[in-house]
Amino acid sequence: MAPTILEMRDITKTFPGVKALSNVNLSVEEGEIHAVVGENGAGKSTLMKVLSGVYPSGTYDGQIIFQGQECQFKGIQDSEHKGIVIIHQELALVPMLSIAENIFLGNEHAKFGVIDWDANEERTSALLKKVGLKEDPKTLITNIGVGKQQLVEIAKALSKEVKLLILDEPTASLSEKDSQALLDLLLEFKRQGMTSILISHKLNEINRVADKVTVIRDGRTIETLAKKDISEDRIITSMVGRSLDDRYPPREPDIGEIVFEVKNWSVYHPLHAERQVIKGIDINVRKGEVVGIAGLMGAGRTEFAMSLFGRSYGRRITGEVLLKGKPIDVSSVSKAVQHGIAYVTEDRKTYGLNLIDHIKHNITLANLGGVARHSVIDDMRELAVANDYRKKTNIRASSVYQLTGNLSGGNQQKVVLSKWLFADPDVLILDEPTRGIDVGAKYEIYTIIARLASEGKAIVVISSEMPELLGITDRIYVMNEGRIVGEMPAAEASQEKIMRAIVRGEGKAA
């Protein structure tokens, strides 16, 4: 058995109000590829941030032992100095600088601050050869694709004399071919004796390259499987097998005719014109029905919803949207809103709220006509509306004049919901409606959803939390890589079934 290169012991990390990691243990042997798997929000990325010093020592409990030494990293520089290099899911490259400049950014071969470009480019060429990238070191990052950018990140890591390479979802935005090439490269590095940690939820990839798998769930280590024990079934059970002690408000579904229908919806990436993000999706939602869309991060669910909502995402959008059987024009947000469609964003701070304005102004923004006559706003009516929705959705604030930027996540979410409720839509698309909010607020959001459904609205809920979908929806579509890969009544669905649909879908795409 090879010696242990890294041991993380009893790592506990708390954020205000949330225990993100609780006594997590991870032990990695020298020269292996160790996969870390878990659902979105299970704590994988947090664990890696602890390891790489993004969360400095002292902000968490537990020990990190690397090559037999206990380490207390104060920042990324410390961990990189020891040879631990992390490549984040969002690449950290400067687009308008060349490959060589990026690789040696902050670490240039220089004398008295004067850069020796020849030395930089020579070393870059050598590194690019190692990762199998045939590009001129002078090429700008912006001119190469995501797959090649990923390789540049790896070359950058190699330039730092890496001993332990951590890849966070490296293939999430790569094509099938680029993914395979990347995995081959990892295997090649392994032959040369390098140790890697691979964070992924693509089980086929893990099957292919990993020597060991550690499963993390709800901030705890569930188990570590050796190569011979790795099987999709085992991993799936381990990943989702949490106790269902979340509570959901009871609901008597009263489902009517089809209200909202999308046919053969296709969307291409806004920047990479050849990349098709949404591939011919058909869905329908009935009156009073809550329909869930399950899938992993990067499945294209948000892109799908936003492209539906006034073409707010993507290019070359094709397909048909029908409301009560009639085709409608959703080519701009205001048209979509006029037709009674509302989209509650997953990212309330960036896309949902004007954080420097107060609750009242945010609530009426999508339907100013509702509080105005001849374009003149009726102050008293607006105040009454704001107070009414504040009560209905139970927004906790000193008054409707409180700035939304000062509210907690749950209350912010209720403001965004109120805004769209006041617009009085027939179809409500909720994207990750409970992300980043506490359990109590979640229950309130679920209650609002249930009430809206009972009022006869058609509701689509996009969520990465499978128990949530199982708990509040009537029917679930499973989406993966821009396609619907499964559809099931919520009563017959289970987390295993959803996971299986995703995994099979991935198999198909290969």
């Binding site: 947000v333 205001s334 004007n354 954080l355 102004h361 374009s375 706003i377 008293m380 906790r396």
Partner: protein
Amino acid sequence: MSTESAPAPHGNVAEEQRPRIAVSALATNLREYGLIIALIVIMLFFQFTTSGTLFKPVNLSNLVQQNSFIIVMALGMLLVIVSGYIDLSVGSVAGFIGALAANMMVIWQLGPLSNPLVVSIICLVVGGLIGAAQGYWIAYHRIPSFIVTLAGMLIFRGICQALLGGGSSVGPLPDDFKMLSSGFIPDVIGPLTLIPPTVNAAGKTIMGSGLTLHMTTIVLGLIAVLAYAYFGVRTRRKRERHGYEAEPFALFVVKTLVASALALFLVYEFASYRGLPVVLLVMGVLISLFVFVTKRMTIGRRIYAMGGNAKAAQLSGINTERLTLMVFINMGVLSALGGLIIAARLGQAVPAAGLGSELDVIAAVFIGGASAMGGVGQVIGAVVGGFIMGVMNNGMSIMGVNVDWQQVVKGLVLLGAVIFDVYNKNKA
């Protein structure tokens, strides 16, 4: 927030919270009126250092006539900055429009089209077109406004100079046109002569043997003050009728009385000279209009939302591109009006008209509390900011402060005002 306890029964809370509401109302009002208080303090300072010249009726009229174009353009600039953009071209556009107007009235023989009123209307339309041309690139092609309007600044200054044939000026402009800046409203009621020397509100004896009041000005002033008080009371009543707490009554009364007294004092000053300057009337109407648009109309609300979070505004169904275009068209029209006012005041078009005034306009908006990030700023703030700049120009000129040092002081005031704002915001 989630740890907050549930609200207590209603009656109880109202009792407990009353003193707190009074204090917080005072605090917010102080911040709101801090700028006006600063203006008054600055005016009193210069009144003292210029041995009473600042508040002389003739000087007040001058002050208004000198600075009105800055304030008119600041109204447009406020919307531009609240939307999250900037416009560097306004001074050049003003200069260009002045040159265009002068040429139309004096050089080119256009027959009826040379009538000052027709020329003014054409010029406002041209200003709107210029705004649309710049706004188009900013709104629909996402070219940074800084760059588009920097280009506009060069382009229109160049055209302005070319229209004036190099370094020369074009004039004199017709007297009717000059009324826009240097005229006073006619006294339709007739003057009232007060024979005995009287003591005015500043506490000084008026020089000379008698005093004649411009009665139309007095009447207009009284109507404005009464309207202000009436609408104040009405809004208050309406809030109370709907069961929402208004600011404490005493504060409301003091506020209304102080504002009315100040207004009446100014009205009296103007009335004892030649009456209300035409340009002040124009400015007053525009200020009221912009206050109404920003505070009460949906388009105003949308502009603030766009400046606060453009993506969220877009996803709320607001056509941010069209809104941006409209903001720049508005800016263009007001720049044109500014140009007309400058030309009317000088009585001719000169190549340097409005040169550098974009910076005064932008400074006025920022002194008035607007945020460079967009989404924050008030019309009244920009107006008061403009007057603060104007009073400082005027006061320092009377004191005989060198123009170079005037700039230094204005720069320091701008920096100080913004630092004060940021500091306040961080504390809050």
